[in-house]
Amino acid sequence: LPLRFDWRDKHVVSQVRNQQMCGGCWAFSVVGAVESTWAIKGHPLEDLSVQQVIDCSYNNYGCSGGSTLSALKWLNKTQVRLVNDSEYPFKARSGLCHYFPSSHSGLSIKGYSAYDFSDQEDEMAKSLLIYGPLVVIVDAVSWQDYLGGVIQHHCSSGEANHAVLITGFDKTGSIPYWIVRNSWGSSWGVDGYAHVKMGSNVCGIADSVSAVFV
């Protein structure tokens, strides 16, 4: 493994978004992974519609909550084509699903994987390198007050309540950490990102890890 790796350096990670008062973190993380995986395959990086996933993923609860695995299962099963964010913009509230004709351009996924990588975070880092940014769920209760630095304490594994996207890792310093994109705007944390210690399943970051294939 390299000492440091961040998919942002390859220009395949879209800008940090803001979920506002909508509990749609699960959709933001999944859509972020699809965007990046598509760009890694050589296509232009584009913002895809989070609102489409919030409105149309019938096995979830829109802005009232949802599961990343359910969203991935829905994307894979229905082969829904995600459209551009500009065509189906974010409204920060759940709405009726807007359907597009089959001739309409969009991006569907070819599959996904989901594993528990606790005690195997080096393998998780390899997956990040191979497949692209990873969708994870964490205990983020203490993230309400996070300003910066490496999160090492004040959260638990097995208490997941928030979905985010890992874009890289950094092992160059004394404390190796995951680079985690959040969806609370760029003014939160480190330009919208959190740093979470690697190797100890801090905040349950390795408990449920998904990769998307496009």
């Binding site: 509990g23 802005c63 990588f117 393998e123 390899k126 769920i137 309400q144 007050d145 004040h154 449920s208």
Partner: protein, 76 residues
């Protein structure tokens, strides 16, 4: 879902300041440890923050199997 008022926000803010002191009082000697303070969520009580922003449902996944372990050397 909660009535917002300047008094309630001020109370939540005061509680936040106490929480920051608590969170920063541990492990501050450790290298690079996280630090906590005022941000856009400081006017929310923790239960409000949780109800609005922490809406991801937990899910369990199978353990990553040893036989799937991929050598980076085999990846172009």
């Amino acid at each position: 879902t909660w009535p917002r008022s300047p008094e309630r926000e001020a109370a939540a803010f005061r509680e936040s300041l106490n929480r920051h002191r608590y969170l920063n009082s541990f492990f501050s000697h450790e290298n690079s440890t996280a630090f906590y303070g005022i941000n856009q969520f400081s006017y929310l009580f923790p239960e409000e923050f949780k109800a609005i922003y922490l809406r991801s449902q937990p899910s369990s996944s199978p353990r990553y199997p040893a036989e799937v372990k991929t050598s980076l050397l085999t990846v172009p």
